[in-house]
């Protein structure tokens, strides 16, 4: 069952890679298009085809039409060609200077048909030829989805075939890593950096996927038998690699479209998280609200950012209005309960809770020099203040320290009122 699901996902990944490759073909058609687009396209299409050819279901289906070894060789060749495109892509970008903030933007590098690119085309062809010679020379036979060889010479040939693929793949990934990582480190925050991070993650998973084929080398040397096609773990790693590659290369397309709804969602969540604190303050100080009456329970997503901003400002307005009611005893009450000491969200929540109690009982501490409470040091952004106030609201709602301070303030206010009577 698991095998079937993984194989199905591998076919879907192949379709996604084919779609992505086709999209890149369209981009690479124009006269001014970067030739690197063709390498990306070649890599995606080759990887997609190899997924289809090397999935055990395909191998079983083609078994009646073609010799299994031929299909295996075709699948591996296409995968190796994909890796060659990856190396060509990396080599064509080696002269690109990573962007340095404040520096001069890098222009196009030299002509892409450079000697090192031509050399690599020859290396890629040589790898293909040597691989074919090694596999066919081993004269393997297919038995129930596995490939078997007989005799020590055949074992060495087949294990060399596996080892050659692994070494070549690792080399291609290393060349690409050397190009991508410096760009990723220098890129500022944003979708481009995220795209480079996803690409780097794809390279890491690709390396694991490749390294997994070393088990075939061990199996062949030990028993002369290896799995035909991709096993379940290989397929899983391959699918993850494909998803990360396509996601990284298209992040600027979907990242910007997703940014606004994600921002609305975050604002909506924070607005809701501030509800307990805002409601308690609004109940005592209704004048803080810009909109009259109780806010509607249903907040449309597109209004969440404005509503969150208003809630932050109204909470701060209430905090200022409560200053005359700040209780000078809060610090000592908290010292008994909060080993972390003052300065955190719990302290802020406790100060507000005590001030609210004092206001309800009409106890002002305006002339007390110890009653003041410094404002927290925060960056002046909506994000930073929202995060801070969400912590304060949570402490206001659920912290035992706040509950204790609230109780102490109410008791002190009642005792004081009784003494005055």
């Amino acid at each position: 069952m698991v095998h079937a699901v993984v194989e199905l996902i591998a076919y879907v990944a192949a379709a996604v890679l084919a779609g992505f490759g086709g999209y890149r073909v369209l981009l690479a058609r124009g006269s001014g298009a970067d030739p690197a687009q063709r390498y990306v396209c070649g890599f995606a299409l080759c990887l997609g085809v190899s997924f289809v050819l090397l999935t055990p279901a395909t191998l079983a289906w083609l078994d009646a039409v073609l010799p299994g070894v031929v299909v295996e060789l075709a699948g591996d060749s296409v995968k190796t060609a994909g890796l060659s495109f990856l190396a060509l892509l990396a080599l064509s970008l080696t002269n690109e200077t990573p962007y340095a903030p404040g520096g001069v933007a890098a222009g196009p590098g030299p002509d892409p048909v450079r000697p090192d690119l031509r050399h690599h085309v020859l290396v890629a062809i040589a790898v293909q030829l040597v691989s074919a010679v090694l596999l066919l020379g081993a004269e393997p036979s297919m038995r129930g989805g596995s490939m078997a060889v007989h005799g020590p010479a055949a074992r060495i040939l087949l294990s060399s075939y596996d080892a050659l693929f692994t070494c070549y793949a690792i080399w291609c990934l290393l060349v690409l890593t050397r190009v991508i990582v410096p760009h990723m480190r220098r890129a500022g925050p944003g979708p481009l950096r995220f795209g480079l991070e996803l690409t780097t993650a794809a390279i890491v998973v690709g390396a694991l996927w490749t390294a997994w084929s070393l088990d075939d080398v061990a199996d062949v040397l030990a028993g002369g038998v290896q799995d035909g096609g991709e096993d379940t773990l290989s397929n899983v790693l391959g699918v993850i690699c494909a998803v990360l590659t396509v996601s990284g290369a298209t992040v600027t397309l979907w990242g910007t479209r997703l940014a606004t709804p994600l921002r609305w969602l975050r604002a909506h969540r924070r607005h809701r998280a501030l509800e307990p604190l805002w409601s308690a303050l609004h109940a005592e100080l209704p004048e803080i609200a810009l909109a009259p009456g109780r806010p509607s329970r249903r907040l449309p997503p597109w209004r969440a950012e404005f509503a969150l901003y208003r809630r932050i400002i109204e909470i701060h307005d209430a905090a200022l209005a409560l200053r005359p009611y700040h209780d000078p005893h809060v610090a000592s009450w908290i010292a008994d309960r909060d080993p972390a000491g003052p300065g955190g969200a719990v302290v802020e929540a406790a100060v507000l809770a005590a001030a609210l109690e004092n206001r309800r009982h009409g106890r002002r501490h305006v002339d007390d020099p110890d009653a003041g409470h410094p404002a927290p040091t925060l960056p002046g952004t909506i994000d930073a203040e929202a995060l801070w106030l969400v912590q304060v609201a949570e402490a206001f709602r659920a912290s035992p320290v706040t509950a204790y301070v609230r109780g102490q303030a109410a008791r002190t206010a009642l005792t004081g009122a009784a003494r005055e009577d």
Binding site: G32, D34, A36, A106, G107, P189, E287, E305, P379
Partner: protein, 184 residues
Amino acid sequence: MSTGGRLRALRERRRLKLRCRQTVDALELPRPFDAFAFIASLARTRGRPIELIPVTDRPHTPCGLLVTTDRADCILYAADTTPLHQQHILLHEAAHIICGHYDTAPSATSAAHVLMPNLPPALVQRVLGRTVYTEPQEREAELVASLIRCRAARDDGLRPPALVPRNRVESLLSPPDGRGPRRG
């Protein structure tokens, strides 16, 4: 309030919001946003200085106050609150200037005397304080200030420079219309 009265109030609020939106859309905001830089540019545009005076430990006065004299506009703002709140108070008072509010509230005038005792009352032409939003001018200024800060946050979050590819590696990850280096 009767249904007719509620509908009238709702229509009035919608009209106010639309007017405030139009006012804010017409403003040029610095990027990244900085309330002090925005007010400095507002002063330059009007050709009249705006002085910003931080005030602390004044629990009995409004947290923001706009005092207009024959020479300059002075914005007094609570400095003992968080940076975002300070920015908002500044923007609220700046919004009074942008909207051309002029009615002086008596409570704000007495607060101005407390906070600026050396300022002769004869020189004061207008005093507006950030107090409650039942006053139409205060509501409008508060709405304009909120819309300015929300628009600024949205604009700052767009980060268009980071989306423009600056070399071929970045252009491979960018949309086809991204203006990056091309070959050919």
